[in-house]
Symmetry: C2
Subunit: 359 residues, 2 copies
Amino acid sequence: MPHSALDLQQDAARLTARLVDFPSESGNEKALADAVQEALSRLPHLSVDRYGNNVVARTDLGRAERVILAGHIDTVPIAENVPSRLDEDGLLWGCGTSDMKAGVAVQLRIAATVPEPNRDLTFVFYDNEEVAAHLNGLGHVAAAHPDWLAGDFAVLLEPSQGQVEGGCQGTLRVRLSMRGIRAHSARGWMGANAIHAAGPVLERLAGYRPRRPVIDGLEYREGLNAVGIEGGVAGNVIPDLCTVTVNFRYAPDRSEQEALEHVREVFAGCDIEEFEVDDSSPGALPGLSHPAARAFLAAVGGEPQPKYGWTDVSRFSALGVPAVNYGPGDPNLAHKRDERVETALITRCEERLRSWLTA
Amino acid sequence: MPHSALDLQQDAARLTARLVDFPSESGNEKALADAVQEALSRLPHLSVDRYGNNVVARTDLGRAERVILAGHIDTVPIAENVPSRLDEDGLLWGCGTSDMKAGVAVQLRIAATVPEPNRDLTFVFYDNEEVAAHLNGLGHVAAAHPDWLAGDFAVLLEPSQGQVEGGCQGTLRVRLSMRGIRAHSARGWMGANAIHAAGPVLERLAGYRPRRPVIDGLEYREGLNAVGIEGGVAGNVIPDLCTVTVNFRYAPDRSEQEALEHVREVFAGCDIEEFEVDDSSPGALPGLSHPAARAFLAAVGGEPQPKYGWTDVSRFSALGVPAVNYGPGDPNLAHKRDERVETALITRCEERLRSWLTA
């Protein structure tokens, strides 16, 4: 076996270590994508496609349902935490261990060891998840080959500490600008202060009472926050512009449009001169009532949780595929210098997926 | 007469043009200071001192009162508006015409043409007024040779459109910082938003009712304004710091310390974690009740006005010398590309000073 090849017969913990030692920072995934494609192509029960550095492999057994197992192969920049290191307590340390080479290892192990699953399977390995949304490989595949992503249910193996996390919040970022009239501060009455005009906006934010709706049994907590404010020309000038950037994280029972209307309503009457949408990504409903999701929940066990962050499950949701996060990593360790994963959790996650797909 | 010499026998308008065509941006005043010193040294009734690029000349006639006529010789950077140009309407255009080569020309004309004034005279020509306060030549002279600035009354020939402007406002700039707890905006409840915490500060500013005290018959208008606000870490982070910079312009019946205490009181209870003085310069009382000032007012005529900006009269005030602004330029044209001065006003200003000093 050449040095660059992946051995899918080794256990998931060893395979995770191998993947971590195969650096693949965002934008530099080609070598790993090559290795994944090569390893999957050796499996006769899969047909393999590639688009850029995204690899998609499928069974085609004519099953009644099709399930997607998806994960990104890139990591944030290495922070002197590669190669990986396994300690005495069974913790594997290194960049990408939790986010999400452990999940990718589970995908590869299922691909290699379940040739006759009870549901047809689609494995998606994609690039550039850790960088700007427009670079995201899953988005590129969805745009160029939406048929590759057809399915009844998707599991994204993002770190969720071995718990099922349903759906995800939507996020909306808006820039609210107040205008004034510039003047020398020694003659302030000649001007109109745009920073003072932002007071009512901050007051509405401070007094905002977020909803906590329950959807498919999961409680979501919304939030509306200023994430930036700027204003000022010079130390002796009444400023004529002040901009507050607000971020609304909303439960997936609101659409993007409804979220926008809500934010407009919150600030109605605040004398905002410009209302500019800076960023908007819809949420994803947990979809836990779908039969495939119910069977999955029964097989993997535990209490499903809401996902507060925004993840790529939203992309599946937009394609009409209910999706959940379920992976062995710890989301709180993602992107940290001391990132690590419990190897026992990798094994358990692999076993539970296998039992669901072979029962 | 060599090319670099100043002819103090030409009228004040021509002398102003000559001074404008002798570029002296802040930091480059040496050649002009040399020329001023040389011209004054040719006048037998004056003794001349120099400190850096600051020139001080005095009569010593044993009069009962001593009056100071002061002006800065530097200008802001030239903006394609040199050499000067006299138009058909008697307007002289160019960098520094109003601020304040016209005033300097009047000083030089009085020095040259009033050898036996009714009050002893001190002429002060100083550098670096248009830049940071610590570079100001008048401040350097005050620190090194305070005796050179002794006197009963001072006239600063800053542009005041031929009106007497009494005293000046004080200015205080303070940075108010609110602290919070950083968190991911998808889990806003884990943090505390420092921008939201600035709401009460903006509310106090918007509701602030400035005083309009009358001092020596002049009405001063105070003002308290935000001149800057900043906060924000990233588009998905609850910010842990927000800083509002406020500028208090206050009437000269408050001391620096009283102004600071007032600002502290205004924001009492606003949950400010840091209160940092960024800049502070005291005001100057108009001193119009002083006998020398009364005689000056009677001679030059017109209704005295309060000075809203901060000027170097404050430095004289700190030395115990009452001071006013009185000069031929237009303060609203200072620092502008289309800066200009009415030559008729230069002549009138010179004549009125002469009649006061020779009556």
